[in-house]
């Protein structure tokens, strides 16, 4: 049962990391445009220099 001394804090720690990750993603505006984000994931990264400057 000594293993619980490691496992329980580990499990809680992982949960906390997940929560902090969620709060960070929320704060950095990743939930502001869910529809756009879905499309951005599959769109090609455009090579910016190809576009002629006008």
């Amino acid at each position: 049962m000594e293993v619980m001394v490691i496992l329980v804090p580990l499990a809680l720690g992982l949960g906390l990391v997940g929560l902090l990750g969620f709060l960070w993603s929320l704060k950095s505006g990743q939930y502001d445009d869910l529809e756009g984000a879905a499309w951005r994931a599959i769109s090609d990264d455009e090579p910016a220099p190809d576009v002629p400057a006008d």
């Binding site: 809680l12 929320l26 499309w39 951005r40 599959i42 400057a53």
Partner: protein, 730 residues
Amino acid sequence: MRSIRDFSHYVKDAGAGLAHIDLAVEGVSCAGCMSKIERGLAAIPEVTLARVNLTDRRVALEWKRGALDPTRFIERLAELGYKAYPYETASAETAEVEHSRFLLRCLGVAAFATMNVMMLSVPVWSGNISDMMPEQRDFFHWLSALIALPAVAYAGQPFFASAFRALRKRNVNMDVPISIGVILALGMSVVETVHHAEHTYFDAAIMLLTFLLFGRYLDQSMRRRTRAVAANLAALKAETAVKFVSPDEIAEVPVAAIAPGDIVLLRPGERCAVDGTVIEGRSQLDQSLITGETMHVDADRGTAVYAGSFNISGTLRVRVAAASEATLLAEITRLLDNALQARSRYVRFADRASRLYAPVVHATALLTMLGWIVLGASWHDAIVTGIAVLIITCPCALGLAIPTVQTVASGAMFRAGVLLNSGDSIERLAEVDCIIFDKTGTLTLPDLEVVDAGAIPPDMFELAGRMALSSHHPVAAAIAQAACAKSPLLEAVEQPGQGVRALVGGVETRLGRPSFCGSERLAQDRAPLDPEASIVAFRHGEAKYLFSVRQALRPDAKAVISALQQRGIQIEIVSGDRESAVAAAARELAIGEWRAGVTPADKIARIEELKRRDLKVMMVGDGLNDAPALAAAHVSMSPISAAHLSQATADLVFLGRPLAPVIAAIDFSRKAGHLMRQNLWLAVLYNCLAVPLAIGGLVTPLIAAAAMSGSSVLVMLNALRARRAAPWRA
């Protein structure tokens, strides 16, 4: 003439030498549009950020301050095929965004806490029937408490705050039983943990909050989205005014940048965007958006003009007034305030349900506790059983029953072209059994149309359309549009107040007043047939034709009205327009009840009269004069072309030319109302099954968790049916 457009009002300082502007963009609907816009804008030198928000249909732009004029972006977007305009975030929208982020944060905290508490609870449940040591169980209970208590303290805020507000007003809402249930469950669990007991309810309490927050968040995000769309539509109307920046210099500025005391120029064919007083000039105004009256009003020095008035003939200088100065507005504002106060008495369906629910549940819990004491149980066991009753009846399903239906129904209505301004409008709309329509701009379209285009030879019609392009007169604009004219006749000359003349292939051609074209006799014969129409004459050599131009009924108005009548809804027209105009519209639409020349106060009086007959009245109107009536009615609706004040007052706003959204709104809300009731009954049924178990002291935390999640999922699945109302077709 091209005046400078000044958007500096919308440009914000983004720090680090950058300027920031947000644009609302029309027609962005796919990933293709998104990358096209972003590439197109990023290609402009000095632009450091161009990012499309596909959900809100907006673009955020940043560039080196001073290097570019915002007009450049709007022109670039126009080249790409998108109409764009800067928008100003209303404070209401900022608050909604802030609140919805807060709810999402709460939901995140509650969901993570639920998962971790569950991870600890499942071993306890299985350990209780196998070989778990009491010390281990206590350890797990303490850990659960460590997670659940801070999480509930944070994520429960929306419920606790709302319950506290209601209690302070000596009221009960849905959040009161929720808060009591959660707090008692946690308190009891802590006491049980201290006493090394077998069962605690940390998992039930935090899971309940997660489910409820989920419902709240969905509801909130739907409302936020509607608001964003409404703000975009308002911005894309691109309301500007021509302001005198010095006595003889003008600039076109957004309306938001105009202050009382400024002097603006109002040219023929322009819609006035401000309230004020004429200080110079003479003209005729179409005030149908203000008063419902379709006859034009003469304006000269001293005449009050209101935002939404359409200038017909002459150029005016208008001094912008503060809102309270204009007398009509002051009167309407007063009526509106009274009506709004009366409306706030409406009690939401959910709160009405909880007024019944809370006392019954709390009494049951108390009786359970007393019953067990009478039967000889210990105080401790009796209290634990009493609280178990509260936990099992905690209105999880009840709290989800209404928001989920509302979210699904408002999503379906959104797709049908109806935007919701207020959260509880769906349930009020579902009860409607009488609809009062305004005529001008509501049953009819806001712009003028040629009604007898078929009677004129196509080649003549086309020629007249090209002539019309040379005139600023709104009636001419209607003819040009009806003829789909693109290229103006270069030799056409406008004679102010008369019409347009030109030599076409050596033949004298005129378009304008009947007297200008020598067609008085023809016009005199025509006038009595349709007293509402403006008659325009067209003469090409000796051939003479007449156009009747008027505000036409919405294309599907007749079908919608008869469909509404079939649904057992009583229809009335109450309009500020003249009797002959209203009577004609009523006759065409087969509406028996109509009133003409009605003042804003009389509109309210009519609504009150119907209310006394126990009818739930919906008001559909667009004019400034309708605003108080919109507020006084049980529920109200405005077309998107309505006056600002009316649109802000109405519970729902519909888009587009057809009247069909009215019927879609009725159908979806009736379906939603039905489902809300059904969901409440499901919740009651669940309680009938679960409460006897709780009273008997048989509920373990495992049963509580299963019952709670089972009933929540059931209610949510039922709510999904709200999007499937049979679509109505004309």
